[in-house]
């Protein structure tokens, strides 16, 4: 596999099947990354700049700030679950390309 010619990599990179694979990954990863960084940074910003609002008890004695912090754990695990589910489909696409390439290499 180490001796695959450079031209072969370029041809592979241009294939519609491979482009679709890259697009499928990016379509999930880019918005998900922007979302979780924004959601995470909202915590220190809201606590720092809206302390009165965030100190309000909402769930029994639990304050809005504490609920928001706990929701970060739920958000993280939920995104993890969605990614694992999405990645299984992307894996299939990648495996198809990998299998085909390996076969072509063996056949010369």
């Amino acid at each position: 596999m180490r001796h695959v010619k450079t031209s072969r990599w370029e041809a592979l990179a241009a294939e519609p099947e491979f482009r679709a694979l890259v697009r499928a990954r990016r379509r999930f990863v880019t918005p998900a990354t922007i979302f979780f960084i924004a959601y995470y940074l909202a915590l220190p910003f809201s606590v720092g700049f809206l302390p009165q609002l965030m100190s309000r008890p909402v769930l029994g004695p639990l304050t809005l700030a504490y609920c928001f912090a706990l929701s970060q754990f739920a958000m993280t695990w939920a995104l993890l679950a969605v990614y694992l589910w999405r990645a299984r489909r992307i894996d299939l696409q990648a495996a198809r390309i990998r299998k085909r390439e390996t076969r072509e290499l063996l056949e010369g």
Binding site: M1, R2, V4, T6, W9, E10, L12, A13, A14, F18, L21, V22, R25, V29, A32, T33, F36, I37, Y40, L41, L43, P44, F45, V47, G48, F49, P51, M54, S55, P57, G60, P61, L62, T63, A65, Y66, A69, L70, Q72, F73, M75, T76, W77, L79, L80, Y83, L84, A87, D91, A94, I97, R98, E101, T102
Partner: protein, 542 residues
């Protein structure tokens, strides 16, 4: 009595890990075995090992103590440590496994070939791992002074250093992995166990638990620990948190000792499985800091959490410079901080004592020491791989040399790193070095992460860009820390304690500017190959 029990439990842990090392020693006879455990670690095992590499005594004792004293504001620290793994999961783990061999520099210099890029990537790995290593080892001295005051802190540092060297030199990555798995299991059982005892103390009523946390008696009046603002205040406090949060959330994806763990699994799928497991374990642990911390505040009471103030290494600093105590107190009070007299790091051990007796306290103390051992072993192995694989093998020997030479150099470098860490930690043990961890995260976020991401996604990205990006991220992180309140106190030029919010954009700008400055057709031509390999796993190292 408690000292004896702690030592016996720690000795049992050491005995088990030495047996593991003996078993592993037969299997680290090649480079691939030594650095990457022959890529035969399973995804679930690697997930536990990542957790063991990541949990530190500072998280266990430090954050629990911060929650006990500052409630919500202490818990804010816990959140970032878990969210950070989304960056690792989405952006780094799988491409890294598909394109790298043993080190982060392998990924970066896969398409950006050349000695300069590899040398600077190795330099940044060494800076991060050595800063971490020294912070952890100096922590041993603080921990001994705190938990086992009858033992000498120098001998404790030497014992920890020698054990770490034994795991790494004889057992390589395989032994290190199992030490980390065992530690993660111990730490999780300690923290989950303590949390259950806390809830049981309140007759399994979350309502009455939270109710008493909302009204903790302190200095005669009730403090609501569920409310924000006890530690951080106003705009400066908020920007401090944002800067630290950014460094944490981006930096974790650039920590060489975490990334190195992905080379030990057989495939990108296994790498993903391991991040998933790590995220479940890490999240569970950081959730328990709330129960342990609020439990300590309500059950033990702040007034009874021990004789000294300040978190982390400051304990031994003040032990050596008692005349500084008042000055530090005044400085904190001036900045509107609450200055609790008792030491917050004792929260977890004292809670264990209150709920489970001296045996539980001893167990918590032994687990804290085991945690340090697991972390420093991984760090030593990572630093030695940067020295041996990147600098010696790739730069000095130009890729020549046989397997036995490599192994010898790798072990010699590990020995050198370990010896250096022992000497430096003994020399620095009176100083407060807690800022080194924040600095390491800032360097990882500013020097490593932009370059890793651009190498994977930007066709035009060039060698000049990679070198400028890493150097500007590294340089600005160190310069800003040196100008911050951590070093300069009230005369600080830069107001924030973590440089992330400024140094990350500087690192990114350096990488982009360098790329636009000088076109690099050779690296552009390699982009297709890197992209195909990273996304499909074709040609991945096995």
């Amino acid at each position: 009595m408690r000292t004896q029990q702690t030592l016996v439990m720690f000795a049992i842990f050491v005995g088990i890990t030495l047996i593991v090392t003996y078993w592993a020693s037969g299997q680290s006879t090649t480079r691939r075995g030594f650095y990457a455990a022959d890529r035969r670690i399973g995804g679930i095992q690697n997930g536990w090992a990542i957790a063991g590499e990541y949990f530190s005594a500072a998280s266990f004792l430090g954050i629990t103590g911060l929650v006990a004293f500052y409630g919500f504001d202490g818990f804010m620290y816990s959140v970032g440590w878990l969210v950070a793994y989304l960056t690792v999961l989405f952006l780094v783990a799988e491409p890294l496994r598909n394109t790298g061999k043993y080190t982060v520099a392998d990924l970066v210099s896969f398409r950006l070939r050349g000695r300069g890029v590899r040398a600077i990537a190795a330099l940044s790995t060494l800076a991060i791992t050595l800063f971490f290593l020294i912070a952890q080892m100096v922590g041993v001295s603080a921990l001994v002074n705190l938990l086992l005051p009858r033992l000498g802190d120098i001998s404790a540092i030497v014992v920890v250093g020698l054990l770490m060297l034994t795991y790494v030199l004889f057992g390589g990555m395989l032994a290190t992995t199992w030490v980390q798995i065992i530690t993660a299991a111990l730490l999780l059982s300690a923290s989950v166990g303590l949390s259950l005892l806390v809830v049981a103390h309140f007759h399994f009523s979350l309502g009455s638990f939270l109710g008493s946390a909302a009204a903790v008696p302190m200095n005669g009046h009730a403090t609501n620990l569920l409310q924000p603002g006890l530690l951080f205040h106003g705009a400066l406090g908020a920007w401090n948190l944002v800067s630290l949060g950014l460094a944490l959330v981006l930096g974790t994806a650039g920590l060489p000792h975490i990334l190195m763990r992905f080379f030990t699994v057989p495939s990108a799928q296994a790498a993903r499985t391991s991040v998933a497991w790590a995220m479940v374990l890490i999240g569970a642990f950081y959730l328990t800091t709330s129960f342990m911390g609020l439990g300590a505040a309500t059950i033990v009471g702040k007034e009874r959490i021990g004789p000294r103030m300040y978190a982390g290494q400051a304990i031994s600093y003040i032990a050596r410079h008692p005349e500084e105590e008042n000055r530090l107190d005044q400085q904190l009070t001036r900045n509107n901080y609450i200055v609790p007299k008792p030491d917050s790091n004792l929260a977890a051990p004292l809670l264990a004592g209150a709920l489970g007796g001296t045996l539980a306290t001893a167990f918590v103390a032994a687990v804290a020491f085991a945690t340090i051992l697991a972390v420093v072993s991984g760090l030593t192995l990572t630093a030695s791989s940067a020295f041996a694989h990147d600098i010696w093998f790739s730069l000095i020997r130009n890729g020549r040399g046989d397997e036995s030479e490599h192994l010898f150099v790798a072990r010699a470098m590990a020995f050198g790193v370990g010896a250096l860490a022992i000497v430096l930690s003994i020399a620095l043990r009176g100083f407060n070095v807690a800022f080194l961890v924040g600095l390491a995260f800032a360097i990882a976020a500013s020097a490593n992460v932009p370059v890793i991401l651009l190498a994977l996604s930007w066709r035009r990205f060039s060698r000049t860009g990679a070198m400028m990006g890493m150097l500007s991220g590294l340089g600005s992180s160190i310069a800003l820390i040196a100008a911050s309140p951590v070093f300069m106190g009230s005369r600080a030029i830069f107001p924030l304690e973590n440089p992330g919010i400024i140094s990350i954009p500087i690192g990114l700008a350096g990488a982009i500017l360098g790329t636009l400055l000088l076109r690099d057709r050779e690296s552009e031509a390699m982009f297709d190959q890197l992209q195909v390999r990273a996304n499909t796993g074709l040609g991945a190292e096995i």
